[in-house]
Symmetry: C2
Subunit: 137 residues, 2 copies
């Protein structure tokens, strides 16, 4: 079932979504979390959908523009996408084994907000990740 936040945004949008956009939202909803355009395309293909890679990129771009999807970057620079509206959190990643812990970012949120206000920036988002070696490595 579609998340409330997203549903609301979609409803608020004047324009009706294209079929592709809705498909992408559905996959992102189903998989939860981050995925690259290529991965999302593969998933859809595996499920029998003949959607083209170009369309996947286009749909994701449009969803990002409409603030329905967040765009982030993997460490290698590849773009990854996730639905907005999920609980916002950050990551603690092990440089060696890749183990990842989702962590609260209350302090970050406050920091970002404060800084944005101080310098007159609006409509701000932020990225914040911690990299290190986990206890096992």
């Amino acid at each position: 079932m579609m998340k409330k936040v997203i549903q609301k945004k979609i409803t608020m949008m004047k324009k009706v979504m294209s079929k592709s956009n809705l498909k992408l939202i559905a996959v992102l909803e189903r998989t939860g979390g981050f995925a690259s355009a290529q991965e999302l395309h593969q998933i859809l293909r595996r499920e029998g959908d003949g959607i083209g890679l170009t369309t996947v990129y286009r749909a994701l771009q449009s969803l990002v523009d409409d603030k329905i999807v967040d765009l982030l970057r993997r460490e290698d620079g590849e773009a990854i996408y996730r639905l907005c509206g999920e609980t916002h959190h950050h990551h603690l990643v092990c440089k060696s084994c890749g183990d990842t812990v989702e962590i609260e970012g209350g302090a970050i949120e406050k920091w970002a907000k404060t800084m944005a206000e101080e310098f007159g920036y609006r409509d701000v988002g932020h990225t914040a990740e911690i990299f290190g070696l986990c206890s096992k490595c």
Copy 2:
């Protein structure tokens, strides 16, 4: 003149640096701030150095491995490099005009440290950037 911190690190390194590594450190020192591999290559070429692009990539990779250079990402995913040892700071970047403000990250440092301790991670670093629209845009 080479920054103290870097000089120290270089001295501490058992192995002697390759000529290319030293060249890259010199350019990064001279230009200060961030630059992509391609940009650094162009700068060197412009200055008459016939260094190959491959070597630039290799040198940067090796410097990153040795913690002498930091690797970050532009918004489009392109890798950018800078010398470590500069005063640690974060960025407030305008999504529209690209204007950048360097900001203090005291809160972040504390947050990263706290989280790392809580989950038993050591040798941690972090990334944290804020993106938004500046007052002019």
